[in-house]
């Protein structure tokens, strides 16, 4: 069977994993409800609507109502899952997120789609560069990001089992070279753990989401130069997995963080906040450097915003004085 298409684009990868996960969780949890605000076609959650029409509610294009509505469902014994474009979830509904999800410690599962530059044909209004910064500074809400579709499925499964608000960050898709499974068979995700994907002793590349395959590629190139790089898949953005971060920093003494997000307030900031208290080491931050998004071909955009293997390599070499 050929993969499902939308507007001529395949919905495989992350979006397919999201649809499959929601269907599986809908079967496991009869009290799960999907609250949408008319991004469901793009985020690929309409299969859930078709399978469970009595447990799917759309607000129209009204993200603020969506979060308040979800809060009340969570107070009524239901588990609302809210998959929205991350920009509208964290920007448009920021106040509702702060007051009615975070402050209320509501058992709502938020899924932020189209994060960073990953939706090339949209631009600044849709490419969310600061969702981590906003949600990470909202007490009570856990923040995780996944490196590949199989990890996303595990994250959704564990978020459903956890009682409390969780924000899961996902991309729309990557360029073909990286738009594939990157984690080893049998990889186990945990909400509060980040994982070491490759052991190394000279430098730590701590990456999240779509930057994980680039960090792995950079580590491979560095090894050919005689540099042993450790790669951490930083899934646990809040709370951070301090044990894994401190262990890798102690071991290598050098850290490069890599994120598809503004370096102000994102993954690099979270790592720096942790290490500056527990194990300060020299660091470099690879990510979006305080810019708005741009619409264009994704291959060009990753270069334009410096979200490349080359940029990781440049920072790693500079940090090591090579």
């Amino acid at each position: 069977m050929s993969p499902k298409m939308m507007y001529g684009v395949s919905l495989k990868g992350f979006r397919s994993a999201l649809a499959d996960s929601l269907l599986a969780m809908g079967e496991r949890y009869p009290n799960m409800v999907v609250v949408d605000a008319e991004t469901g076609t793009a985020t690929n959650v309409l299969d859930f609507r078709d399978a469970y029409p009595d447990r799917y509610v759309t607000m129209g294009i009204a993200e603020q109502a969506a979060l308040s509505f979800a809060f009340a469902l969570s107070r009524s014994g239901l588990i609302p899952v809210v998959p929205l474009f991350s920009c509208f979830l964290s920007h448009r509904a920021c106040d509702q997120l702060y007051v009615q999800i975070g402050y209320a410690n509501a058992n709502v599962k938020l899924i932020g789609c189209y994060t960073g530059i990953s939706s090339p044909n949209t631009g600044a209004t849709h490419q969310c560069m600061n969702d981590i910064a906003i949600i990470r500074s909202t007490p009570n809400i856990r923040v995780v990001e996944c490196a590949d579709p199989s990890e996303l499925q595990q994250a959704i499964e564990q978020a459903m089992a956890y009682v409390g608000p969780v924000y899961i960050r996902m991309i729309r898709g990557d360029i073909p070279k990286y738009d594939k499974p990157v984690l080893p068979e049998g990889h186990k995700f945990a909400l509060d753990r980040s994982s070491v994907l490759r052991e190394g002793s000279d430098i730590s590349l701590i990456a999240s989401g779509m930057m994980v395959p680039r960090a792995l590629e950079a580590a491979e190139i560095l090894s050919q130069e005689g540099i042993s790089a450790e790669v951490v898949n930083m899934t646990a953005i809040k709370p951070v997995d301090a044990e894994t971060l401190v262990a890798t920093a102690k071991k290598t003494g050098h850290v490069v963080t890599c994120e598809n997000h503004n370096i102000f307030g994102g993954v690099g900031s979270a790592v720096a906040e942790c290490l500056c208290e527990k194990c300060p080491v020299p660091m470099r931050l690879v990510g979006v450097r305080d810019q708005y998004g741009w619409s264009g071909d994704l291959e060009d955009l990753v270069k334009m915003f410096g979200l490349t293997t080359d940029e990781i390599l440049r920072n790693a070499r500079e940090l090591l004085g090579r």
């Binding site: 409800v33 009595d54 447990r55 509610v57 607000m59 129209g60 009204a62 603020q64 109502a65 308040s68 509505f69 979800a70 809060f71 009340a72 469902l73 107070r75 009524s76 014994g77 239901l78 106040d95 509702q96 007051v99 009615q100 402050y103 209320a104 410690n105």
Partner: protein, 300 residues
């Protein structure tokens, strides 16, 4: 381990004039509304800041008296009782009147009213906090309550709980918030005829009259255009309010339509100098002199 009991210092010396009982006559409800007004003034005076959003608290006294006195089916000893009716104080600035009504129904002891409001470590927050059992939504950032009510109402229908009712109290000021109208459209689209919104239409927003700042009129037409069953009553007339809520509660009234009762009220109602200077008394501080003046007007 038993929780540490707070040591309270402030005590009201005023007589309590109303106790929870059922059924309530109109006379009983008027006494309860007066009790709520006295409590609002005392909560304000004894609070850590000697202040509250007193004008809007006073304008909604009869509405709260009727809801907590006659209509809300609650188990105060079991605040999360799944069959309960829901009350969302969307105009979350007006928490003192809610706390007073909750204490009256037995959610917590009255001594908390004089000791916990606007105090560091006190549980009675100026804006309705989710930390207090019986408060159904964190509000104060305005405009959210109707969407909350929609969620509660949809969930009740989803669970087949046809006897439950959801009540949302809005201020006219917050009807200038966009999300209020997202919620209004949502309630109509989802056919939430188990939801009753009440608007405390005291005609004032913060800086001036609502008409001068952002006129809501024709207000009834607006709700009708959003496909709501619409009534308009004197918000200080307990008999008229009761009648309107009875009609709104009846499933045979406009099946499939959410209900709104626009309540014409006075900001600062019951205290003449506040009614006459409602802009100044949107949120106000009370000193011993103004406190005495209020209490004199409230029959003491």
């Amino acid at each position: 381990m038993e929780a540490e009991r707070p040591v309270y210092h402030n005590t009201s010396t005023l007589p309590v004039i109303s106790h929870y009982h059922t059924p309530m006559t109109d006379e009983d409800l008027r006494a309860f509304a007066l009790q709520l007004r006295r409590d609002i003034i005392e909560i304000t005076y004894y609070s850590g800041t000697q202040s509250s959003h007193v004008g809007g608290e006073l304008s909604s006294a009869e509405i709260l008296a009727i809801l907590y006195g006659c209509f809300l089916n609650l188990h105060p000893q079991e605040p999360e009782w799944p069959q309960r009716d829901i009350f969302v104080m969307s105009k979350g600035h007006c928490s003192a009147v809610l706390y007073a009504a909750m204490a009256w129904r037995g959610f917590f002891g009255r001594e908390m009213l004089w000791n916990e409001f606007n105090r560091a470590g006190g549980i009675l927050q100026e804006h309705c906090s989710p930390c207090l059992p019986g408060v159904e939504a964190p509000t104060g950032s305005l405009g959210m309550g109707l969407s909350d009510g929609a969620g509660y109402a949809w969930a009740a229908k989803h669970a087949g709980q046809m006897d439950r009712r959801m009540y949302v109290l809005l201020g006219d000021g917050e009807c200038t918030e966009g999300q209020t109208w997202e919620g209004a459209a949502l309630c109509a689209q989802l056919k939430l005829d188990n939801l009753i919104a009440l608007v405390d239409y005291n005609k004032y927003i913060i800086s001036s009259t609502t008409a001068q700042v952002m006129d809501l009129e024709p207000f009834e037409d607006r709700w009708r255009a959003y496909r709501w069953h619409t009534q308009r009553v004197d918000g200080h007339d307990v008999a008229a309010l009761c009648h309107a809520i009875e009609l709104a509660k009846d499933p045979a009234t406009a099946p499939g339509q959410p209900r709104v009762i626009i309540c014409d009220t006075k900001k600062g109602a019951g205290i003449s100098f506040m009614e006459q200077d409602a802009v100044h008394w949107h949120a106000g501080h009370l000193n011993s002199e103004s406190y005495q003046r209020c209490m004199k007007e409230l029959g003491l």
